[in-house]
Structures are given as C-alpha cells and as structure tokens.
C-alpha cells in the first residue's frame, strides 16, 4: 500500500514536471502541443550525450556522489540538457509554430503532431532503439518501513533525489510566476492576451519565455525518467497521454494543478500496476482523463470558461 504511493510519487514527479510545460503552452501559446513529449525524450538524451562528453574530459566527475548512483557530471549534464531543450523548443517555434499561429489552434495541433513524429524518429535514428542508462551502478533500496507495516516502504536515494528536486523546481517556478515581472506578464497573457498587450506586455517575449521554461522543465523531467527508469527514444510518446491527463485533471494553465494532476496520474499508474498488471499501466492515464472529462472538464483548479 505505502509502496504503491511511493512509486506513484516518483512516476508523478516526472509527469508533473512535463505537465507544467504542457499546461503553460496550452494556456499561453493556446494549443495542445503533441510534440511536448519529444522535448522530454530529447532532453534525456541531450543529458546522456553531455554526460559522455564530461566523463571523457574529467573522468573524476562521474564518481558517485554520496549515496547516489551519479556524480557531479550528471548535474552538469542536466543543466546543459535543459538549455539545449529550451533551444530546441525555440527552434521548433521559429521554424514551424510561429508561421502557423495565424491559421488557428488546430493547424498548430496538426503541425505539432507531425513534428512529434519527425522528432521521435530522428531521435531513434540518432540513438538507436536500445534502452540506455546514465549509470551502470546498481542501487540498493533503503528500507524505511519493514514489510509488517502496511506492506513496507523502500526507496532508492536516486528516487528521493528526484522527488526532492521536483518539489524545489516547482516551488522556484511558482515564486517566479508570482513575483517576477516576466512571470506576471506570462500569467496576464494567459488570462487575457489582448488586455496584456494593451498594458504594454510584449507578447513575443512572453511566448519565448514560455517555450524556454517548458523546454527546460521537459528536459529535467526527461533526465528524471532516465534516472528512475531508463532512456528510450519512444519515452516521449509513452509519456504524452499521462502528461495530457495531468494537465486536464489539474486545470489548464494552473501550475499547482499540473503538479497535483501529475502526482494523481502517477498514483493511478502505480495502483493499476498492482491491480491489473504492468502491461495496462498506460490505460490508467486514459481512465483518469475520461473520468475528469465526464465529471469536471475544467479540471480541479481550472477556471470556468
């Protein structure tokens, strides 16, 4: 029981971070970006490549850090991957989405669907289909509670690191959106783009900021998926449905909604593994999605509209 919750929170961390970016794009750029999952995949592999480069330059940097399976090099790779994924998101916007923005949201959705397939297969072409890992070190899970207490609870140090860094990142983003001028401009644009423009907010600057933040968070989520599970070129595709479910569950445009939605979808996935088996895990997100659309289509924190 406790273990299911713990596992769900770990999966939920990855989904939450990915869902925030997707939710921001939906509320500020105003379309469902089906290529958002690919930013997670590319981010994960950017970090893998950066890691290989770092370890070639400074072999000492890959030595495990305390109880974790990775060293300083992975943290550096994480930052570099975030920057590269942000650039990729900006590039995609410049080459494709910006040109189609005037044709309406659905044209953008089609274009994002096309670019998702192209990006995923480029990744497959670049990296091949075999799953990869950041580290070959095996980690022993720390038992926190014995089996006699509600089925027991164990977690690896890596998993705790992912959970902690997710909470730190989300809190940081929350403070940014609430208190910085750029963050407020973003929220204003999400609520009423025309009014924001009249108030002197540059919409292009807001859009750029949205892509950068979305790309960076996606890369962090991709790296976390790589740390806790593995890297696969199709991971973006596999995560897309949970991401959308989390966004709609939380309510489009709400950061905390996306986080909570991500954790709920993560819990639903880990619960479904123990109820119907691991092979139907991805259907859990679909069930959550259908339920929320039937019961409360605006999501938990969404505005009526």
């Amino acid at each position: 029981m406790l273990q299911i919750i713990a596992d769900g929170l770990i999966i939920g961390s990855v989904i939450s971070l990915g869902a925030i970016g997707l939710s921001l794009t939906l509320s500020i750029v105003r379309f469902s970006n089906f290529s958002h999952g690919e930013l997670l995949g590319w981010g994960g592999y950017f970090a893998l490549t950066a890691l290989a480069t770092f370890s070639a330059i400074a072999p000492g940097a890959t030595a495990p850090l305390g109880p974790f399976s990775f060293g300083w090099a992975l943290l550096g790779a994480l930052l570099l991957a975030a920057a590269l994924a942000a650039l990729l998101a900006l590039l995609l916007d410049t080459v494709l989405f910006k040109r189609l923005r005037r044709q309406g949201a659905i044209t953008l959705v089609i274009a994002s669907f096309g670019s998702a397939l192209a990006l995923r297969n480029l990744l497959l072409f670049w990296q091949g289909g075999v799953p990869q890992y950041y580290s070959q070190n095996l980690q022993i899970a720390i038992p926190f509670l014995p089996r006699s207490v509600w089925g027991g609870l164990r977690a690896t140090p890596d998993q705790l690191f992912v959970l902690a860094l997710t909470l730190v990142t989300v809190t940081g983003l929350h403070l940014f959106l609430r208190h910085s001028t750029l963050g407020r401009s973003m929220r204003a644009t999400a609520i009423n783009p025309n009014l924001a423009r009249v108030a002197g907010i540059d919409p292009e600057r807001v859009l750029r900021a949205t892509w950068i933040i979305g790309g960076m968070l996606a890369a962090v989520a991709g790296v976390f998926a790589g740390i806790t599970v593995q890297l696969r070129p199709t991971m973006g595709e596999d995560l897309l449905l949970p991401l959308f479910a989390a966004v709609i569950l939380g309510g489009i445009g709400s950061v905390w909604g996306a986080v909570l939605g991500g954790f709920i979808v993560g819990l639903a996935e880990s619960a479904s593994v123990s109820i119907v088996g691991a092979e139907y895990r991805a259907a859990a997100a679909f069930v959550v999605l259908i339920l929320i659309l039937l019961v409360r289509p605006n999501g938990l924190f969404g505005e009526k509209g």
């Binding site: 939906l26 379309f31 469902s32 089906f34 494709l96 040109r99 189609l100 044709q103 949201a105 659905i106 044209t107 959705v109 089609i110 274009a111 669907f113 096309g114 670019s115 397939l117 192209a118 995923r120 297969n121 480029l122 497959l124 072409f125 091949g128 289909g129 595709e237 897309l240 449905l241 959308f244 479910a245 709609i248 092979e279 139907y280 991805a282 259907a283 997100a285 679909f286 999605l289 259908i290 659309l293 039937l294 289509p297």
Partner: protein, 324 residues
Amino acid sequence: MPDFLIGWLSYGSFFMVFATTFAIIALGLNLQWGFTGLFNVGVAGFVALGAYSSALLTTPEVAGRWGGFGLPVAVGWLAAMGVSGVAGLLVGVVALRLRQDYLAITTFGIAVTIQLVANNATALTGGPFGVQFIPRPMQGWLGTGLPWTLAYLALALLVLGVVYVALEKLVRSPWGRVLRAIREDEYAAASLGKRPALFRLQSFVIGSMLMGLGGAVYAHFVGYIAPEDFLPILTFQLWAMLIVGGSGNNRGAILGAFIVWTFWAGAGSLLRGWIPQAEQARAAALQVVLIGVLIALTLVLRPRGLLGEEVAVSRHAGGDRPGP
C-alpha cells in the same frame, strides 16, 4: 503473359489495394475534419477496431482465443463499421461537447488504449502475434494468385466508389451544408435552430464507421493482422494524405491517399537500397521523418492542399463573383 509483366501487375495491384484502403479511411477522416472540423488523432485505433472485429467474427475457431465464428465476410465488414461507429459514439459523447483540443487528446488516448488491449489481451486479440487465417473472400474459386488480387482490387475499388458517391450526396445535402455552417460559425448555425452537438456527433460516428470499414478491407486482403499494423504512424500517414490532397474535398482525400502512399513506398524502397542491411530500423525511422517534413511543408507552403475545398457560394448570391 511474360513473367516480368505478371510480376509488375501483381506488385501494382497489391500497391493499389493498399492505396484504395487508405482512400476509404481518408474519406472518413475527411468527413470528420474536412467537413466538420473535428480533429481525430486516433484514426489508427478506429481502423484497428474494424480490422479486429471483422477478423474475429469471420475466422475459423482457434483454441484459447475468443471469436472464430466463421461468419461470412460481409457480416464481418458490417460489424466492423458497427463496432468502430459505437467507439466513435462513446468518444464523441465524452469529448465533443468540450473545446476542440479535448477531442484530439481523447482520440489520442483511445488509440493508445486500443493498442494496449491489442497487444496484451491475448485471449481476445491474439496478443503480439495477432489474428491469422482471416478468410479472403472469393479465394475459393480464384486461387491465391494474380486473378484473386485483381478481383479483390475490383471489390475494394467498388467499396471506395460506393463510399465516395454516398459521401458526395451527403455533403451536398442540407445535412452537409449544416456541417459546414457549424464548422464556420457554430453560433450562427445554432441561431438557425441546428443543434451543433448532434450534427458533430453524427459526422464523427459516420467517419469512424468508414475507418472501421477500411480496416476490415485491409484485414481480409492481407489475411493476417497484428497490433504493429495500427501504430500511430498510420494515423499520421492518413493525416498526411488528407492534408496533401486537400481537406474538405473528397476527390482531394482520394488523390492524397494515392500520392502519399506512392511517396511513402517510394521513399521506403529508396532508403532500403541506400542504407545498409544492418541499419534497416534507422531507415524506417528516416522514412517517418520524411513524411513529417512533408506534412509540415504542405501546411506552411500550401495550406489548402493540392485540391482545396470547393468554394461554396449560393446560386442566389447574384453577380458574377470571381473564383477563389
């Protein structure tokens, strides 16, 4: 007949049957998107439902798997349309009353779920090994060779023809005009007493039925289906067909199906020749990238497709208006 001619003919007729199946599915998608503006990202799921429904009803009995009733092929095809239509109805009821993107996300979700079930519910779908020995109609008296392929091509073309004529009649009827009116301005249509939700649902269900029919026509030609035949790439190919051919135009959808299928098959065989044997998986990946670029280019350069939608101007509008 010389051998090379027979080889050519049989490759050509194989190619044409596939293109025809795609054209049937593309017509369904065109009704949903081209005429009603409904964005379906789960085409592969509806096609798979049709293919599996027909296959399970018409195959001979197999131990350890549900189905195998050995029913006539025609029954299978009707059932394929029925099952895909019911799936369309369920998705439509949940998602059509909400903003447009939700339909895209929900259809994406149902395609993922159908793929999961196809892969894992072995007792129903045969799992990764799929369904074998799907009966091929008319094979009893035409054998397995070229005559049968040609006969099946004729049958598929006949189905395509019937679907095309029926759709043309539908979209030119008052019902079709309401669809376009809703697509252009939902509130104006509603103010004239048309219920947008009902018309959208009807269009979505009919489109889904055609996708199921296309899946069944495919299944009974190949004689064997597996989950990997219905991956998201299929959805994507169909979108490429519709966008390249021109959505909102039934002839455009058919033309797009033939052009994109030619492009796909051509790019595939070129890449296979160019990339060494050991790297074939990468060649397939590059093939998909090419078609992604084709969609993006068409959207940016020729957003209306090769044959765009015909401009509908009432004959009562008067004056000699310049064409589009």
